[in-house]
Structures are given as C-alpha cells and as structure tokens.
C-alpha cells in the first residue's frame, strides 16, 4: 500500500512477531499475531516469480496490462507482491523473464477510479509498478 500523507510514497509491508512480512499488511499476520512494524519495499529490488500480459482488461485498465508477481528479499525474509510491469509493449514482445530483477516505480493512478464496479472511495488507486533493472 502506498502512503502519500505528506512524504514520499512508500510501498508498505507489515512485519510480524515471527519475522514474516506480508504485502499488503494485514491486521493479523500468518502467525496469528498483530504486526510489530513496517518495511518500505520501494527501497528494495525484487525478482520476477512469474508474469503475464492480459489483453482482455476490465473498464479503466490499460490494454494490454502486463503484470508480475515478484519476490523481495528483506534481510533474508522473502515477501511477494503483485503489480503492473512498467511497460506498455506489445504483448508478444514483452522483454522480461522469470528471475529478472525489477525495482518498484511509483504511479499516481494505476487504473481509472470509478470506471469499474468498485466504489472509488473504498480503496486507493496509486501504487508501484515494477520496472526491469
């Protein structure tokens, strides 16, 4: 989740008592305990776990929409995230591979709020895309 309340946007993950980290953060972690801290993933690079390019996109979403699941290594603790790839290339020519390194890049609006079924005020619409390093 990005946090734009005055400072630089952050990609905030939660850390839990057992050392695990999740993105997004949850009120209760995998260990059943409340979070004890946060980690800004935007300061880290990640590896592509898998990726796709979606050509049948919903209202308000770019077409094609290249997406990736990536994995950060935060001091030895793995944490995954999903997000758009910072590319608008032809889906036949997306130049990434599983295992490639990417870095988070902030975008003010990832899809058009209100174009789809979800109530615009119910969630944030900014966030981080992943750009190949």
């Amino acid at each position: 989740m990005s946090d734009s309340d005055g400072g630089e946007p952050t990609m905030e993950a939660y850390r839990y008592p057992d050392g695990s980290i999740t993105y997004p953060g949850h009120p209760i972690g995998p260990d059943g305990e409340e979070p004890v801290g946060t980690v800004d993933l935007s300061e880290h690079t990640a590896e592509i776990v898998t990726w796709t390019t979606s050509t049948a996109t919903p209202p308000g979403v770019r077409e094609p929409n290249a997406l990736a699941v990536v994995e950060f290594d935060v001091d030895g603790e793995p944490v995954r995230a999903i997000g758009q790839l910072a590319t608008d290339d032809n889906p036949e020519e997306i130049d990434v591979e599983i295992g490639d390194e990417v870095r988070p890049v902030y975008a003010e609006e990832l899809r058009e709020p209100g174009a789809g079924i979800r109530e615009p005020a119910s969630q944030e619409w900014d966030g981080f895309r992943f750009e190949p390093v």
Binding site: M1, T22, Y23, P24, V49, T50, W51, T52, T53, S54, T55, A56, T57, P58, P59, G60, V61, R62, N65, L67, A68, V69, R80, A81, I82, G83, Q84, P91, E92, I98, L110, R111, G116, I117, R118, S122, Q123, E124, W125, D126, G127
Partner: protein, 385 residues
C-alpha cells in the same frame, strides 16, 4: 448424521439465453428438478439458491424468495449462497448440511447466473471485484491469475505449452455429446494454440466462456430415497476450505491449498482414497486449473497432471475420465450454476443416465473452485446399491 441422497437433478441449456433472466433460468431448472424427483413444491422444506452476483449483473436481488414464490414452494425456508465461482459447490454443502443435520427432509438446491447481456469487460470486472484492493487497483483479473500461474507451472515442471491446449481439445470433444453444453463443437490443437492471447501463455481457447444457465438438485435422507427414485446417488463425503484472499501470498502458487484441504475432509468422510474415484468433474475455468486440481486432489503427483492429459488417462475412455460433461470449458460457466452442474454430471454418471457420455463409475468427485482457489468445495458421491 443422516446419509444424504440426491434423488433428482436438472439443468437448463447453458449458453446465451436471450430474453431470459435470472428468475426465468432458476425457475426452469427448479421446475425440471421437481419433476425429475417426483416431488411436489409443498414437500420442499429448504430451498437454497447458489448465485454470485444477480444484483451486480442484473439489478435483481432477493432471488431465493422470488424462486420460492415462482415454484409455489412458499413457505419453505430459503437462502442465497454466494461463494463467487464456487457458489454452486457451497450450495451443495449447505443443502447436504440441511438434510444431514435433520433440519430438512427435502431440500431443493438451484444454482444459476445470467451474464451474457454484459460485455466481456464488464463481466470480467464483476468477477474481478472479488480480489483484494492491492490486486484490483493493478487491473488483476481471474484470467490474469491463470496466465501468471500457467507460466510458472510450465517453467517449474518442464511441461509443454501444448499440454494445456490438449485439456481444451479433450473437454470440447466431451462437450459435443452434452445436449446442455454451450459449445458442442470439437477444436483441434492448432486452433487452440493459434487463438488470440488473453493472458499469455494462455489463449482464448484456454478459457471458459461467459454463460447464462441454471442447474438444480433434490436432496433427502437416504432412508426415504427409494420412495422417489429407483437409482439415486449418495453424498458420501463433502469438504469445504479456503485459501488466502491475496493470491500471491501463497507459499506455492501452483498448489491450491483449498483443494487439498477440502478433498482431505471429503475423502475421510467417505472413507475413500483418490484411487477409488472413477470419474471427476473439475473446475476448468482455465485449462491450467485442471492440472492443479488433478494433482491437489491426489489423482497425480505434483507437476505430473499434464502428463496424464498427454497420455490420455483423463480421456472419456481413459483410466480416470475428467470432465465428461465438457467441463466449464465447453459446457459454459454460469457462475452460481457451475458447481451444481458438476454434481449433476456426476449424478447422471452414477445413475447411468449420461447417454453418449456414460462411463463405468460407482464413485464420482466434483471439485468447485471460487476465485483463484480462494474457496473450494469437494464432493464425493457414490451410486446407490
């Protein structure tokens, strides 16, 4: 706990049902099921409706009460079961529970969805609204989860892209003999592999269509089943489970923990093993899902589901026929109806009424998946003795 029998079943034609809406579709299947079971509306004590999104698709809410009225089943207790794409399976669970607990001696379950009046983009968005906000804002859809998982599966298990295409070819071939199926047309592998990219590496023919349709089941205690049917099926085991809402948080993206957990519960209740299953209906909303479920249900080792398709093991005349109905892929996927229609197919197989699709089977399994494995119901059925 009462053993629960299915003594009647029905399904409408799946496909584009111009001018017919959710109430019409539910009533059509409901009436046909009452006729099939030889049950009068006043005998129905509980009436469950499996439906994901009639409000979002059509602006019609309150469908359980509407259906009770339309079937003249008032004052039956009624409720809507929404568990996204697994609403049907969850409805089977609720209906089974109502009879097994003794709360109802005659339960009608009707699942249905009206979707085709919406554009593909709109329908995709309604379904994608089940995702977590961090997924939704990136435009993540269920088809994109399938593309992400398929790429990883092919990479991890050294599976050829063609093996996914062969799932589509097999299920379309099965659908030819299903009079209720949306597509009754064979496709060849070349057509599948050259169809437009939807979420690469997956292409158009790796995906189920958008569909209107309804299906229904009648359940009662096995102790009275013979009063209604000479041949019936028994729900020998049933289990439901969930996985994380945020899909990328799963330790192994190629394992659906909800399938593993729900099937373990169902196998234990039925006192059966995966090897005992003679025929299965799996939730092939996307071709990759047939591999994942066939492995997570214990039919094949992890990473080897694709080999079973390549070797013809899951063909209709194979050792373990999977999706004799044509699956969601060919039959269609009216969200709330699909899990009910899966059990309908197993019921037809176990009672010897599957016609050209008939296989030899005493034990059948249906696995209905909601979201991208977020919610799952696995049902194991046995033929009556």
């Amino acid at each position: 706990m009462e053993r629960v029998a299915i003594v009647g079943a029905s399904m409408t034609r799946f496909g584009k049902r111009e001018g017919e809406w959710i109430r019409d579709l539910l009533a059509e299947a409901g009436r046909a099921c009452l006729d099939d079971a030889g049950v009068t509306p006043d005998e129905v004590e509980h009436l469950y409706v499996s439906n994901m999104a009639s409000g979002e698709f059509e602006g019609q809410t309150g469908v359980p009460n509407a259906l009770a009225h339309d079937l003249a089943a008032v004052p039956a207790y009624t409720a809507r079961i929404d568990q996204t794409s697994s609403s049907g399976g969850a409805g089977v669970y609720a209906a089974w529970q109502s009879v097994a607990s003794g709360a109802s001696d005659m339960t009608l379950l009707v699942g249905g969805e009206k979707m085709t009046h919406r554009s593909t983009a709109e329908a995709t968005d309604v379904i994608a609204s089940l995702t977590h906000p961090v997924e939704y804002k990136h435009g993540v859809t269920l088809p994109s989860f399938a593309g992400l998982t398929a790429r990883l599966y092919l990479h991890e298990y050294d599976a050829p892209r063609e093996s996914l295409g062969k799932v589509a070819v097999k299920n379309h071939r099965n659908g030819v003999d299903n009079p209720h199926a949306q597509f009754r047309k064979e496709v060849d592998l070349e057509t599948v592999l050259e169809s437009p990219i939807i979420a690469d590496p997956l292409r158009l023919y790796d995906f189920c269509p958008i569909t209107d349709g309804s299906a229904a089941l009648m359940l009662c205690p096995e102790s009275v089943a013979r009063e209604y049917a000479d041949e019936y099926a028994v729900i020998a085991g049933i289990g439901g489970a969930t996985d994380t809402h945020v899909v990328h948080e799963r330790a192994d993206p190629t394992t659906m923990r909800g399938v593993v957990e729900s099937s373990e519960i169902a196998y234990e209740m039925a006192d059966l093993e995966p090897e005992d299953v003679d025929v299965a209906e799996l939730h092939d909303m996307f071709t990759i899902l047939e591999f994942l479920q066939s492995e997570d249900l214990g039919f094949f080792e992890k990473g080897e589901g694709w080999k079973a398709v390549e070797e013809g093991i899951t063909d209709r005349d194979g050792e373990l026929p999977i999706n004799t109905s044509g699956g969601l892929k060919s039959k269609g996927h009216p969200l709330g109806a699909s899990g009910v229609a899966q059990v309908y197919e197993i019921y037809e197989q176990l009672t010897g009424d599957a016609g050209a699709r008939q296989v030899e089977a005493d034990v059948g399994l249906a696995c209905n998946v909601g979201g991208f494995g977020n919610c799952v119901t696995t049902t194991i059925m046995e033929a009556s003795e």
